[in-house]
Amino acid sequence: LSNDLKLSYTVSPHLRSKNNVQQAMYDVIIALLPISAVAVYFFGINAVFAIAVCLAAAVLTDLGFKKMLGRSHTPFDGSALVTGLLIALTFSVETSWWTLVVATVIGVGVAKELMGGLGWNRFNPALFGRVSGILFASLFFNQLNITFAPLSYTPAPIDTVTQATPLALLKMGAEMPAMSQMFIANQGGALAEVSPLALLIGGVYLFVRGHIKWHIPVSIIATVFLFGLIFEGPQLALYHVLAGGLMIGALYMATDWVTSPVTPKGMVIFGVAIGILIMVFRLFLTPTEGTAFSILILNAFVPMIDRLTKRPVFGEAPARVQTPEASTVVAGKPA
């Protein structure tokens, strides 16, 4: 009998759930479909172009860096696609394609692969790429823009009149779009800023699928709203929640598994701290990039938060119900 048996000999446990990283990554992409669709609705072929550039750059960077770092054997986990799509969504359609490429290469290549690959990166790759793109833009992108001008390409002419972000409008004291319109769909700013509702639908999907918990998004949004309420009143507080990168940041960037705390308690601390920082940026420093910088700064504190919020082991917490007094029990059984 035993000659024809090829028995698998592995350590316990011998059962597995259906959870897997690839599926989770594809779920994030599914969650980002509604916002991508609204962006395409508003910006048309230009949005499609930007997304395509970032996805292609992300996949090529992933393959290239893995080859360079001798990590080619690792299976394609889909995280590069998520990073690429998120980067595309954080830029406006006016952005030159080489800015998108630079941001994506830095996000996927430097922030993720050079840091040791998926799981080892300390900073959210998409935000790291996005912020690098912005910083480099002011440093030498003007020169790049001149050099690459002949190569510049946009599939369709851009109507620049409607591009100012609501948050900038808010700062300038200009007339703002109606609240309901801003929530459902409003053309302006980056691709991901066009519809908080679409972002929320995707966020709910991730929550239902068990990929994210409510703690981080809710604590960020609640903190931002509360600070807005205190400093600027209810009307503007709502704008603070709906405008800019807050929604995509709170729902998709701050909830990134690798770069956020692992316990609900840590998540709330992380979220509240991000919310406070965002409002410090928005109220006192710069009207843009507040969300991105705040999340990146808190990313650095995640190991510390995990340590500080370390929960007691089962049976370690003193307050839990213990044995009744020995006096109530008949004693006297020798060992």
């Binding site: 009998l1 090829k6 592995t10 446990p13 059962l15 990283v21």
Partner: protein, 441 residues
């Protein structure tokens, strides 16, 4: 009915349908039984027979002077043909008594005592003489557990059977309810506990009903319906669910006034006290999607698992014809904590609750990815540990850090590996950490 539970843990597919309605049966004897001299936690036994001796069913063949040990018995009539190291279910070789089974078997004759007349000393002696150990898998000598150095106010009979697939405790609860309850009463009397609880998961309504009908109207006995959640049958989680007491790290249930015993153990205690019958056979479940005829069988200790499989219909869709290969897995114990086997000569021991046969579809892959900190293991860990940090640190040889994140409090239930989207070998890394940490002491 209120259903009690513990925090965290995970809902697993039950897979009980294969064998839960199969009454306990018996199988024919093998030609040879291999009885390891150590089937328990504690000191190994020394053989008290020698090669060439004729032995009878129930005859003591191994014993030890040590307190923490349990005697072993011949499970058949036959002749001792060897006393030598033989492979055991853990993969290690264990000194074993090999008995050639005699063609004619005599029906063993047992005493018939009135268990209500037994003194505590007599009960304890009967348990020790019968070599009873915890039959849920841990195989800790029962007489040691029943000599607690501290007062005990509650006995919990563990009828959870929280591991998927296994149904032998379920069948015992339904078919031998009387023996189970009487055995539990003996245990309760022995440690002088005020309360006796039966903890049963709600996916065994017939067991709950059977137990309730036996103990109705008794204030000191209660049947507790428990959530079907893994690892409900782990001692600490069971005590938490039933009594809302937490056993501190490094402590034992008796430190919170509780002793937990498995269903099979309670039945064995009853049989030891009434019939003076030693523990030389046990009920186990042979099941799995690769088993031709899943069943619950009473098997003599020492029976090679290959014989049990063969007698129970063998492998599903596998005839053993020329060129045919069975790609699958054979596991001793449950699917979450059991041991995979590559040698079917390994014998059934006192702690063997099941033999699982998995088809190729149930096999798990070996490849794993880095930890992505999804925190599913942290969410589900019933000991509130950080399996993510344990595995990441242990993988890089940082065992001290792995200990800081709780490796030593892990009882290797396997949930973290089950839920891990990266298929990380966390249990393996925990074991590695324990070995390194103990060596460093």
């Amino acid at each position: 009915v209120t259903v009690k539970s513990f925090d965290r843990g995970v809902f697993l597919p039950h897979y009980k349908e294969f064998s839960e309605n199969e009454p306990i049966t018996t199988i024919s004897l093998p030609s040879e039984v291999v009885i390891p001299l150590q089937q328990h936690i504690g000191a190994p036994c020394s053989a008290v027979v020698k090669v060439g001796d004729r032995v009878k069913t129930g005859q003591k063949i191994g014993d030890s002077e040590a307190f923490v040990s349990a005697a072993v018995f011949a499970s058949v009539d036959g002749t001792v043909v060897a006393i030598e190291p033989r492979p055991s279910f853990t993969g290690a070789k264990v000194e074993s008594v090999v008995i050639e089974v005699a063609p004619e078997q005599e029906e063993p004759k047992w005493a018939d005592r009135d268990v209500t007349q037994l003194s505590n000393d007599q009960i304890k002696q009967a348990i020790k003489d019968a070599g009873i150990v915890g039959m849920g898998g841990a195989a800790f000598p029962t007489h040691v557990k029943l000599s607690p150095p501290k007062p005990i106010d509650a006995i919990i009979i563990n009828a959870c059977e929280c591991e998927p697939f296994l149904t032998c405790d379920h069948r015992l609860s339904v078919e031998m309810t009387e023996e189970l309850v009487e055995g539990a009463r003996l245990i309760q009397k022995l440690v002088n506990a005020d309360k006796l609880y039966f903890g049963v998961e709600t996916n065994k309504p017939d067991a709950i009903e059977a137990l309730n009908s036996k103990v109705e109207g008794e204030d000191s006995i209660e049947v507790i319906a428990l959530d079907v959640k893994y690892p409900q049958g782990s001692e600490k989680q069971l005590i938490k669910a039933v009594l809302n007491r937490e056993v501190p790290p490094g402590k034992l249930p008796l430190d919170v006034g509780v002793v937990v015993h498995n269903v099979g153990t309670a039945v064995a205690v009853y049989e030891a006290c009434r019939y003076e019958k030693p523990l030389y056979e046990r009920v186990l479940t042979l099941t799995g999607d690769g088993a031709a005829k899943p069943c619950n069988v009473k098997v003599p200790i020492g029976t090679p698992i290959g014989h049990v499989i063969e007698q129970c219909g063998g492998f599903k869709d596998f005839t053993g014809a020329e060129g045919e290969v069975f790609n699958g897995k054979v596991i001793m114990g449950g699917p979450m904590t059991g041991f995979a086997q590559d040698n079917l000569d390994v014998p059934v021991v006192k702690g063997t609750s099941g033999i699982l046969i998995f088809s190729e579809e149930m096999l798990v892959k070996n490849e794993h990815m880095p930890c992505v900190r999804c925190a599913r293991c942290v969410d589900h860990c019933p000991m509130y540990l950080y399996p993510n940090s344990i595995s990441v640190n242990a993988e890089r040889g940082l065992y001290r850090e792995a200990v800081e994140w709780g490796a030593m409090d892990c009882f290797e239930c396997g949930i973290c590996v089950y839920v891990c989207p990266s298929n990380r070998p966390i249990v393996h890394l925990v074991r590695e950490t324990k070995v390194k940490a103990n060596a460093a002491k």
